[in-house]
Structure formats: structure tokens, C-alpha cells
């Protein structure tokens, strides 16, 4: 095999960069041989318990991480879960994370004014934010909404759309649009004031425009372009917008990413999100450990957390599951189905005082006993 086949791409490319021009072919050959030698010396030994090393590498420094949620760098900021709680959140494989965020890149570079208006368009708008007032007309038993034309214009939505949205969501009322006034009249008679009051409160929080789930927007200048940072995320709907650069726009929720872009992307997202925390805490952990953890979480094609419901629950060994959590439950279910523990992994052999099938416990020696 040639050095190019043996060496990882990165090392090979680095070598190309480093080797000065006008190097004779024989020297290049010598360098390549030396590199291959160096690389093969650095390879992992078969039987190496890489999983435990990864767990140690994350677990040991995690005692040094802070618990506090910190602020994002920049002048105006949003709260982001960082430190240990964030790592726990990612490794749990939670379906909803505590502070979802997005970074939206645009296809074309724009100016500051444009980006502000785009940001406003994206933000989830409730009716409350687009009206002058909302009142209950006691005499006619109806609700009156007076829209704020200025703010409607700002986000580029017309009264028609709002009217449509309202009538769609409250079907038992008849909604009428008149200029900037929308009146809601109950279709049935005998509606007491209390229900009207409830209706008014409900209408206030009604979603009318923007992208659902985007709670806050913040246009930020990054290098020579503008980026919209959002609190709250909705990857699918944001990707549908035509001005968004879908190749770079990301969110910080691996679970959402796996739904939209698949596990491969989610795996990468887990690696990046964990590594972000590690770097922010000023710790030095090799990325290979994080990658291994992310890979074990994603091997089955969906994200499984490092919990008793996730990765551990799918271990083949009964005793390994028993040794983790809820032992009685596992013993019971194993006895019903007549499970057979082949003792292929570590912990059950520790329990039985036998060599573990890892590292030096791996090679087996056959011997005739006379």
C-alpha cells in the first residue's frame, strides 16, 4: 500500500504542505516512510478499552466545570445553558432542551437595515404584539381588536392574514374585518362575559406571524456578514425560507437536527455542542473521546441518551443492566423471557471474579490439562 492509502487524509495533506518544494523524490519517499512509521506507532492497540478512557476523560474534568448558566459573548446577550448542566442535557438525549438557539446565515450579504427587518419577520409574533388594544364590548357581547398598522407594516403582514388566522383558530366565533378593526361575535347566543374574557386572553397569545418557536431574534455582525441569532428554534421552517443559507444555518438541539437532517448530522451536532462547552470551560479534552460518545449515542440510527432508558437498556447482558439501575426490574424481565447472559462484557465478569474480555484479558490460551 502506498503512504497515501495508509495515512489519514489530514496527515497526508499536512505533509504536502510541509514538504518544501524542490525536494527530491527519494527524500519525499523517505519522509513518507517516516510518517507512516510514526503513524503506525501511534495507532491504538487492539483490545484497548477506548470506551472507558473516553468516559474517564469526560468524567474526570466534569467536576471542575461550573454549574451556572452563562451569557453569550457580545454586547446584548441571551442566556444560554453552559457548563455541566448543558453536557448532562446533551448526553441525556433529551427531546427538548432548556435553551434552544439558532444561528441563521443568509445566502446573500446584506446591510444592517435589511437584516433587522428580516430578523423581525422571522420572530414569532403573537397577536398581543401587533395590536393597539383588545376590548370586550359588553353591550354587544363581542370582542374588538384594534390592530397596530405600523407594526404590521414593519413585519410585512397585512390585516387579511391576521383576520384569516384568527377565524381559523376560533371557529365558534364570527370574525369580521373592518379597516384596522376585527370584531369577534359568538355564533351561538347566550355567551356570558366570562367566556369572552377567556377568549380575549387566548387571543392575546395567538400566533399570527413569523416562524413558530422563534422567541427572540438578534442580528449580529460576524466577520463581514450579518447573522441572526435566535432564542428558540425551528430548523424545519427556517430552512423553508428562501433567503436562508441552509448549508451553514444551525441550531443547538441535536434531537431537532436528527429529525430534519438525519442522525449523521445529529452526531456531528452532539460532538460540536459538547466540544463547545469543553472549550468554554477552558478544559483540554481530545475530540476523539467526544466523538466516541456521540457515536455510541447514534449507532442505532436514532439518538439514545446515556441513561437507563437509552444506551444501557440495550446492552445484551442482563447482569450489565442489573449493575446499572433498577436491578429488580431487569431480573424479572430476564427471567420471564428466559434470557441467557453470555458474559461477553466487562461488569458481569467482574461480578464473577473472571478475567474481563478487554485488554490483557482478551487473548485466550488453550492448554491440554493432563
Amino acid at each position: 500500500m502506498s503512504p497515501e492509502d495508509i495515512l489519514p487524509k489530514k496527515i497526508f495533506e499536512d505533509a504536502k504542505q510541509e514538504i518544501p518544494e524542490k525536494t527530491s523524490a527519494s527524500t519525499i519517499k523517505k519522509i513518507m516512510e517516516a510518517l507512516v512509521d510514526e503513524y503506525e506507532k501511534a495507532l491504538v492497540e487492539p483490545g484497548e478499552s477506548v470506551g472507558l478512557v473516553a468516559a474517564e476523560s469526560i468524567g474526570e474534568p466534569s467536576t471542575q466545570m461550573t454549574l451556572n448558566t452563562f451569557h453569550l459573548a457580545g454586547v446584548a446577550e441571551m442566556n444560554v445553558t453552559m457548563g455541566l448542566p448543558r453536557i448532562i442535557e446533551i448526553l441525556d438525549g433529551r427531546k427538548t432542551i432548556s435553551t434552544p438557539m439558532m444561528e441563521i446565515y443568509l445566502k446573500k450579504a446584506t446591510d444592517e437595515k435589511k437584516i433587522r427587518s428580516l430578523a423581525r419577520q422571522i420572530k414569532e409574533m403573537t397577536l398581543k404584539e401587533l395590536i393597539k388594544d383588545i376590548t370586550i364590548n359588553v353591550m354587544d357581547t363581542r370582542v374588538e381588536i384594534r390592530l397596530n398598522k405600523a407594526s404590521l407594516k414593519e413585519i410585512g403582514v397585512d390585516e387579511e392574514k391576521i383576520h384569516k388566522n384568527i377565524s381559523k383558530s376560533v371557529k365558534t366565533y364570527e370574525a369580521k374585518l373592518d379597516g384596522d378593526l376585527i370584531t369577534l361575535k359568538p355564533k351561538t347566543k347566550d355567551v356570558d362575559l366570562n367566556t369572552l374574557y377567556l377568549l380575549r386572553e387566548k387571543l392575546k397569545g395567538l400566533y399570527v406571524a413569523g416562524v413558530k418557536g422563534i422567541k427572540q431574534v438578534l442580528p449580529v455582525r460576524r466577520d463581514d456578514e450579518y447573522v441572526i441569532i435566535t432564542a428558540g428554534s425551528n430548523l424545519k421552517d427556517i430552512f423553508a425560507l428562501e433567503f436562508v443559507d441552509t448549508t451553514r444555518t444551525i441550531c443547538n438541539d441535536p434531537f431537532e437536527i436528527s429529525g430534519v437532517l438525519g442522525v449523521e448530522a445529529a452526531r456531528q451536532s452532539i460532538v460540536e455542542e459538547i466540544f463547545k462547552v469543553i472549550e468554554a470551560q477552558g478544559l483540554n479534552i481530545d475530540i476523539r473521546h467526544v466523538m466516541l460518545i456521540s457515536d455510541t449515542m447514534c449507532t442505532t440510527g436514532e439518538i439514545r441518551g446515556i441513561t437507563r432508558f437509552g444506551v444501557v437498556s440495550e446492552k445484551p447482558s442482563v447482569l450489565a443492566r442489573v449493575a446499572f439501575e433498577t436491578p429488580i426490574k431487569h431480573i424479572i424481565s430476564a427471567s420471564l423471557i428466559g434470557e441467557n447472559d453470555e458474559l461477553n462484557s466487562v461488569i458481569e465478569n467482574v461480578m464473577l471474579n473472571q478475567p474481563v474480555p478487554i485488554g490483557t484479558g482478551l487473548p485466550k490460551l488453550g492448554m491440554k490439562n493432563k
Binding site: 505533509a15 510541509e18 518544501p20 525536494t23 519522509i31 503513524y39 501511534a42 495507532l43 491504538v44 487492539p46 470506551g51 468516559a55 476523560s57 468524567g59 474534568p61 466534569s62 467536576t63 466545570m65 461550573t66 454586547v75 446584548a76 455541566l84 448532562i88 448526553l91 427572540q216 483540554n284 481530545d286 475530540i287 476523539r288 473521546h289 466516541l292 457515536d295 455510541t296 449507532t299 446515556i306 437509552g310 444506551v311 445484551p316 447482558s317 442482563v318 450489565a320 442489573v322 449493575a323 429488580i328 431480573i331 424481565s333 427471567s335 420471564l336 423471557i337 428466559g338 434470557e339 441467557n340 447472559d341 458474559l343 461477553n344 458481569e348 467482574v350 461480578m351 473472571q354 490483557t360
Partner: protein, 854 residues
């Protein structure tokens, strides 16, 4: 002489299943019929719960079943015949599912489709089977008419914990059992139950298996009274109620009394299995303390599994306080003679070492180095005492084992808890020393995370040749120097060793005589490379320790270059970024080029050199080091007061309403941010001033500059100003309404009123400033206290999930069921502990091969 053949069994696999009534009888040796335990003489009653056919726990008695004595007999099972069947609590949910899913009349599955059944003779993925059945059977309960016999079906409910109710009538366990008996094996499999090992009717107990007495031994109190185990108590209750139930049934007692007794029996058997069920009151001792029954014995951290099976106690170990000894090598551990004389290493007598080992026996257990025991080839262990000594010496011959005292050079495993990574257990060579503590080189404190404020550590002595070989090859300190976490040296110099080498390589000069003296003290013997001069610089002294073909280029902490050529420190000086643990590449390169043994030798010498230099130079932190020149003091005060003035300006702007808000922020938040930034900046400015004017030869700045201890911030806090105290990234706001302390006016937003500490530690804090510091101090204390258990649990989960992953011979990473997790470890197959900070230094290889020409 009959040679004892060691029996070495290997467990291949463990199968799980239910125990059928038939099997109960087969396993048992005794039928328990009486709740009495002992007769009047204190001898176990036949047919009682302590029957000696169940095993023995009293010394002197012999087991009636196997004839062995205490400790040899593992115990035997017995059984109770229950007067009426009783439900096993742990299976209640399964029984409920089965009752709901099968016909109450004909016992067939309430479904006509055939594909529900699982064929357990074929290879079944248990996980999959479990998942699938769960969804399938939940639909069955809605069917109201049996598709086979057309019988009407009723809703079956569970009256927790153990009663089944159908049509608001209770189904007795007898009836439940009858229904379960009717179900065919095939139909049972639809519920994910393998009838070959678990017939559903077995979940209703008719016979109760009694555990051997050896797992529930009684304790004899000092008063001679016997105190029985919790399980025995519980079993006594069961037997008692069972007998009463029998009697009542036979006497033809009214149904109500029988029902009551039956319920009571059910309660006792339920709590026998699990005494922590939410629905029923736990069975208690007379003292009111709940009994610890079967489930509680297995469960949780203190249960059998995690306490006794996943972790075990060991012999041949020692624990004591640790203290430092920099004259020890990194891979040595100093142990007290007292410990060395208790811990032993077995050595087999051969023709060739007979005389050598006889010497140990001659010395006996009281003299060092002696021996404590001799093991005969038949496995009999003999203690060496003054009486037995003569005889043992005479009979000693090849094949015997002598357990001799520890000696210098023996291998031991040294450990400090919490054992968070593999460097928490390393092999050290024994060095027997006077004193009562374990001694270790301060350089290996970092991997153990140890200090000497009273820390204790454990020492283990491997007892077999295989274990010693493995410890020596895989666990010795020198093999663990490169951390698998980031691929840099985790062992390095710290504290005095850093400041010592810093002073040496930066300022010191020695006469030739002193230089030789210094190097000798460090343990260096090769003086051929000492320059032929009268005055030898510190750099040259330091260079003596480096191999003469070592080349290195790096940077100091301030960024100035460090150049080592051919083993001589040409430029720069040593500080933390080159000597410290987990820092630069200098130590990594030494390790790579000269191997692990040479590396720790050099490292040990460098460490000692630093300490010896300090011994001559002296290092202390006098109060004078915190003085500032008068003009600098003025400048500092000016900076601070100016910052405070500016923040008052901001506050008045805010009150006037002329403060512009940041985008996405309110005016209040903007003000806070601006003030915080301003005050932090002022402290930084002051810090820069302090560091700029600090005398670099003074000891405090030396410690800071070398990275040995302290930072520019800690200097500033001592000298000039402690600075703003922050809680949750904000200025301090909590306390009274609208103010932090009652000495301020409500609504005061000024620096002093919101946690700014203007004074330095030297000048002393004002009362309110002291209070602010106490607040932040408490906050960080809380943070640590809350964080430790959280991260501990995270670690446990990670370790449990990942412990089976290993690299196969084809370089793939696989889990226990051989699923590929990664096709090439880390994407490139590189072992982090063999890399340089995670990379392979391509540049260096190219330079080496091209001869350094660019």
C-alpha cells in the same frame, strides 16, 4: 503427600428463569413446618427456620445435608407449603397483562392472528421481542368477546398491590392460577414469556422457597442473646400465619376468617420480597425500623450488586496518611517498616533459592526482612512463630511458598480516591523508610490529585507473578505519564520546582564547585558536559540534566522564545508552560524521544534541581512585596476613583433618562452592563499597573511570573484592589428591598452599594465589602457542593454505557454484542496517549528527514 489440585471453573453463561413448584421441591432439603427456631437448649429445631439441614452458622455444628462445617457449607434451600396460593408481587403487572389478553373461559389468546406468538426455539432478539409484545398486547384488552369460544370478556383491574378485580368482584389467586394454567405455551409466548422457563401459573406461589440460613445468619449479642436476621423474622411471620391458615381451614372456620388470614399471608409474602412498595405499610421491627427484605438486599448502592459484586474488598492492602519526599523517584513509594512487615509477597521455594528464602524464615515475623507465613504444597497455611520456626525451617523444601516481607523494589499499586481516571491507580516500586506515612514524590501529586493536608492513600500488593508483570508493564508511573485525555504529560513540576527552575535559568550563577555540588545533590553523576569555566550560569546547570541531543523550540508564558539545542538551553528560561503538567510539548518530546524510563529520570532530576535551588536561594512572600511605590499608589487610586466617578455619571444619565439602551435590552440592563464593564476594566487597569511596577526579583512576582502559584489577579487583590464581586454574572443585588445592605439608601446604584470592593486585602476590607465577599464565597461553595454529586452521576452513567467498547484487531471499535461503533477509532485510529496533544507532528518529521533545511 496428596497434592491439592486447584479447581478452576469458568462460568460460560448464566440463564434466567422462574422456579417451578417442582423445582422448588427438587432444590429443597427441608420442609419447614414450625415457626420455632431453637429448642430449650438453644439447638435448632427440626423443621424450623434454622434447621441444620439448611446449613450451619454455629461453630461446632455440622450440616446434616452435606456434612460440612461452618464456612465450608454454602447452605441449602428449604420450602414451605402454602395453605392457599399467593401472588408474587414482582409479577403482578405481567399477570394482569395475561388476564386481560386471554379468554376467561377457554384460556385462549383474545386474537385469532397467529403471528403474535414468538418461537423461542429460534434465535430471538430479546430486546426486540420485549418491545414488540408491549405494543401488541395492549390492544387485546379492548376485546369484549372471545374469538374462539365467544364468551363475554370483562375488564380486569388491578387493586394495588396484589388483588385482581373483575366486574367489581375480586378474583382469588386460586382462580387466577386456574386461568393461567389453562393458557397454552404458544399463547403464553405472545406475551413475551418463554413457557419453557416461565409458565405463568408459577407466578402464583403454592410453595415458597426458603433461603439457606447462611444468607441470613443470626448474631449472638454480648449478653448471649440471639438476634435474628430480618429475613428470618419475616419468614417466621410467614410460617406462623401459614400454620394458622392451615389449622383454620382444617377446622372449617368461617370464610371471613380464612380470607383475613389469607390476606395476611399475602401481605407477609409480599413484604418478604419487597418491603418498600408504595401501597402497603412496610413491615417493621419492634423498634419501628423497617425490615430489610430481599429486594432491599439487592438494590441500590449499598445492595448486593453494587456493594459486593461490582466492587470487592481485598487483602494485602494498606492505607495511611501521605507525605512528600522529593528525594524519591517518581515511580517509588516510601512505606513504613511496620507496613512492610505486615504485607507480604509469596515466593516459591526452588532448589536455587532455598537458602535465600530460609533466611526470611529464620528472621520470622518480628525482624525485618522476615516472613509471616509458609504455605505447604497441599495448601495448608502455617504461621511462623518462635515455636513453629524450627520445624518449618527443617521441612522447607521446593514447592513450599514463603510469604516474605516487602522489600525495596517490590511492585505495589498505589491509589487515591476518588479514582476518576486510570492515573489514579499506578504501580510504584516499594522503598521501605522510617516513619509512619506513605511517602511519594510531589511530582506525582497531579495525577492522583493529592495534596498533603491529611490525604490518605491505599497501597495494594499484587500476589501473583502475572499480576506483578501486568502492573509493572502497564501500570508503572512512567507508562502513565502521557494522559490519554489530551496527549500531553500529566506529570510535571509544580510549585517550588517551577519557581526554583525559573530562578535558576533566569537569574542564578554558581561557582563551578557549587554547580557540581548542586547537581550531585540532585542525583546527577555525569559532569563531563560542564563548561570549563569558573562561573557557571543557571542555564548551563539546567542543561546538564538534558540529553545532549535534545532539540526543542517553545515559548515561555509571556511568549518569548525558549530554544534548546543539542541539550543546551540557549535562550529563554523555564517556567510553567514548559515544565508544568498538561502544558507545553517539552516534556512530551522528552518522553517521545528518550522513552518513558529516561523521561521520568530526567523529570525527577529537574524537579529536585528546582527544590535544591530554592533551598539555597530562599523563597518567601514578605509583606513588603505587596508595597507599591508612592507614585504608582497615587495612579492606582486615581484610576479607581475615576472609574467610580464615571459610573456615577452613568447612573445620573440613567436617572435623567438620557442613557441609550443596547439593542434588545432595557435601559436598566444596559446600565448594569456598562457599570460592570467599567469597574472590571478599572480593576484590570490597576492590575496591569501593579504588575508593571512590580520588582521582578521580588519573591511574590517570581511566583506569579513562573506560574508556580498565584496570578496577576491575586497579586492585584492583595496589593491594590479586590474588585467587583459578581453573583450570577451580575453585580450584587440581593439583600434588602432595593438595596444590598441597610447602610445604603434604597435604590442606590453606586459601585459601593452594589458589591464593588475598593480596598485590597492588605489595606483591609470595610464591613460592607467583607459582606460582599462572604456572599460570593458562599455562592461558589454552594456551586461546588451541588456540582460534585451531579458530575459523579454523569460519570457513572458514562462509564456504565461505554465500558464494553474496545478496539478490535481490525481497528474497529465495537461494543459487547459486536456492533461496530466506529470503523476506525477517532476517525484516524490514533491513540491519544501516543499522540502529541492529539496530533502527529508532521512538521517535525519532515524537518528531521530533510535535515532541518527549509
Amino acid at each position: 503427600m496428596n497434592e491439592q489440585i486447584p479447581v478452576h471453573k469458568i462460568v460460560n453463561s448464566i440463564s434466567f428463569g422462574l422456579i417451578s413448584p417442582k423445582l422448588v421441591k427438587k432444590l429443597s432439603n427441608v420442609k419447614i413446618v414450625t415457626p420455632e427456631l431453637y429448642d430449650r437448649e438453644g439447638y435448632p429445631v427440626d423443621g424450623g427456620l434454622m434447621d441444620i439441614r439448611l446449613g450451619v452458622i454455629d461453630p461446632g455444628l455440622k450440616c446434616k445435608t452435606c456434612g460440612s462445617k461452618i464456612k465450608e457449607c454454602l447452605g441449602h434451600f428449604g420450602y414451605i407449603e402454602l395453605a392457599r396460593p399467593v401472588v408474587h408481587v414482582n409479577f403482578v403487572k405481567v399477570i394482569l397483562d395475561i388476564l386481560r389478553g386471554t379468554c376467561r373461559g377457554c384460556g385462549k389468546l383474545l386474537s385469532e392472528s397467529e403471528d403474535l406468538a414468538i418461537d423461542f426455539d429460534e434465535d430471538v432478539d430479546f430486546q426486540e421481542a420485549r418491545k414488540e409484545t408491549k405494543g401488541k398486547i395492549s390492544d387485546l384488552r379492548k376485546i369484549t368477546k372471545c374469538p374462539h369460544c365467544k364468551a363475554k370478556q370483562y375488564k380486569v383491574a388491578l387493586d394495588k398491590p396484589t388483588n385482581f378485580v373483575e366486574n367489581e368482584k375480586r378474583i382469588s389467586p386460586i382462580e387466577v392460577r386456574m386461568r393461567l394454567e389453562k393458557i397454552s405455551d404458544e399463547d403464553v409466548s405472545a406475551f413475551g414469556i418463554n413457557a419453557a422457563v416461565a409458565r405463568p401459573e408459577w407466578m402464583i406461589l403454592t410453595l415458597l422457597l426458603i433461603p439457606p440460613v447462611t444468607i441470613r445468619p443470626s448474631i449472638t449479642l454480648q449478653s448471649g442473646e440471639r438476634s435474628e436476621d430480618d429475613l428470618t423474622h419475616k419468614l417466621g411471620d410467614i410460617v406462623r400465619i401459614n400454620q394458622r391458615l392451615f389449622e383454620n381451614i382444617n377446622a372449617g372456620a368461617p370464610e371471613i376468617i380464612i380470607e383475613d388470614l389469607w390476606d395476611l399471608l399475602q401481605y407477609h409474602i409480599t413484604t418478604f420480597f419487597d418491603n418498600a412498595l408504595p401501597q402497603i405499610p412496610p413491615a417493621r421491627h419492634r423498634s419501628g425500623q423497617p425490615l430489610k427484605t430481599l429486594s432491599e438486599r439487592i438494590k441500590s448502592k449499598e445492595g448486593r450488586i453494587r456493594h459486593n459484586l461490582a466492587g470487592k474488598r481485598t487483602n494485602f492492602s494498606a492505607r495511611t496518611v501521605i507525605s512528600p519526599d522529593s528525594m524519591l523517584d517518581l515511580n517509588e513509594v516510601g512505606i513504613p517498616k511496620e507496613v512492610a512487615m505486615k504485607l507480604t509477597i509469596p515466593e516459591r521455594v526452588t532448589e536455587w533459592n532455598k537458602d535465600y528464602l530460609k533466611e526470611f524464615v529464620k528472621k520470622g515475623p518480628k525482624a525485618y526482612p522476615g516472613s509471616n507465613y509458609v504455605i505447604r504444597p497441599d495448601g495448608r497455611k502455617k504461621k511462623i512463630t518462635s515455636e513453629t520456626q524450627e520445624q518449618i525451617l527443617e521441612e522447607l523444601q521446593p514447592g513450599y511458598l514463603v510469604e516474605r516481607h516487602l522489600m525495596d523494589g517490590d511492585i505495589s499499586i498505589f491509589n487515591r480516591q476518588p479514582s476518576l481516571h486510570r492515573m489514579s491507580m499506578m504501580a510504584h516500586k516499594i522503598k521501605v523508610l522510617p516513619g509512619m506515612t506513605f511517602r511519594l514524590s510531589p511530582a506525582v501529586c497531579a495525577p492522583y490529585n493529592a495534596d498533603f493536608d491529611g490525604d490518605e492513600m491505599n497501597l495494594h500488593i499484587p500476589q501473583t507473578e502475572e499480576a506483578r508483570a501486568e502492573a509493572e508493564i502497564l501500570m508503572m508511573v512512567q507508562t502513565q505519564v502521557i494522559s490519554p485525555r489530551y496527549g500531553l504529560s500529566i506529570i510535571g513540576c509544580n510549585m517550588d520546582a517551577i519557581s526554583g527552575n525559573y530562578i535558576l535559568t533566569r537569574y542564578e550563577e554558581y561557582s563551578r564547585k557549587d554547580a557540581v555540588q548542586l547537581l550531585t545533590e540532585v542525583g546527577h553523576r555525569d559532569f563531563s558536559r560542564i563548561p570549563k569555566k569558573d562561573v557557571i550560569s543557571g542555564k548551563e546547570v539546567f542543561s546538564m540534566l538534558l540529553p545532549n541531543d535534545f532539540d526543542f523550540e517553545g515559548k515561555t508564558r509571556t511568549g518569548s522564545p525558549v530554544i534548546i539545542k543539542k541539550g543546551i538551553l540557549k535562550e529563554g528560561y523555564m517556567d510553567k508552560s514548559n515544565l508544568g503538567e498538561g502544558q507545553g510539548l517539552m516534556l512530551r518530546n522528552l518522553h517521545k524521544k528518550y522513552g518513558s524510563d529516561k523521561n521520568i529520570e530526567i523529570l525527577g532530576k529537574i524537579f529536585r534541581l528546582g527544590i535544591k535551588v530554592l533551598l539555597r536561594h530562599g523563597l518567601t512572600a514578605p509583606i513588603g512585596n505587596t508595597d507599591l511605590p508612592k507614585d504608582v499608589r497615587g495612579e492606582v487610586d486615581l484610576t479607581l476613583s475615576k472609574a467610580q466617578e464615571e459610573s456615577y455619571q452613568l447612573i445620573s444619565d440613567y436617572h435623567k433618562g438620557v442613557l441609550d439602551a443596547f439593542p434588545g435590552r432595557s435601559v436598566e440592563e444596559t446600565l448594569e452592563l456598562k457599570i460592570l464593564e467599567l469597574l472590571n476594566k478599572s480593576r484590570n487597569d490597576v492590575g496591569n499597573l501593579v504588575m508593571k511596577h512590580a520588582d521582578k526579583h521580588q519573591h511574590l512576582p517570581i511566583m506569579v511570573d513562573s506560574g508556580a502559584k498565584g496570578s496577576s489577579i491575586s497579586m492585584t487583590q492583595m496589593v491594590a484592589c479586590v474588585g467587583q464581586q459578581a453573583l450570577r454574572g451580575k453585580r450584587i443585588e440581593r439583600g434588602y428591598k432595593n438595596r444590598t445592605l441597610s447602610s445604603f439608601k434604597p435604590g442606590d446604584l453606586g459601585p459601593q452599594a452594589r458589591g464593588f470592593v475598593e480596598n485590597s486585602f492588605k489595606s483591609g476590607l470595610k464591613p460592607h465589602e467583607f459582606f460582599y465577599m462572604a456572599m460570593t464565597g458562599r455562592d461558589s461553595l454552594m456551586d461546588t457542593a451541588l456540582r460534585t454529586p451531579k458530575s459523579g452521576y454523569l460519570y457513572r452513567r458514562l462509564a456504565n454505557a461505554l465500558q464494553d467498547l474496545k478496539v478490535e484487531y481490525d481497528q474497529t471499535v465495537r461494543d459487547a454484542s459486536n456492533n461496530v461503533v466506529q470503523f476506525l477509532y477517532g476517525g484516524d485510529g490514533i491513540d491519544v496517549s501516543k499522540s502529541e496533544n492529539g496530533y502527529i507532528d508532521v512538521k517535525k518529521v519532515v524537518e528531521r528527514e530533510t535535515g532541518g533545511k527549509k
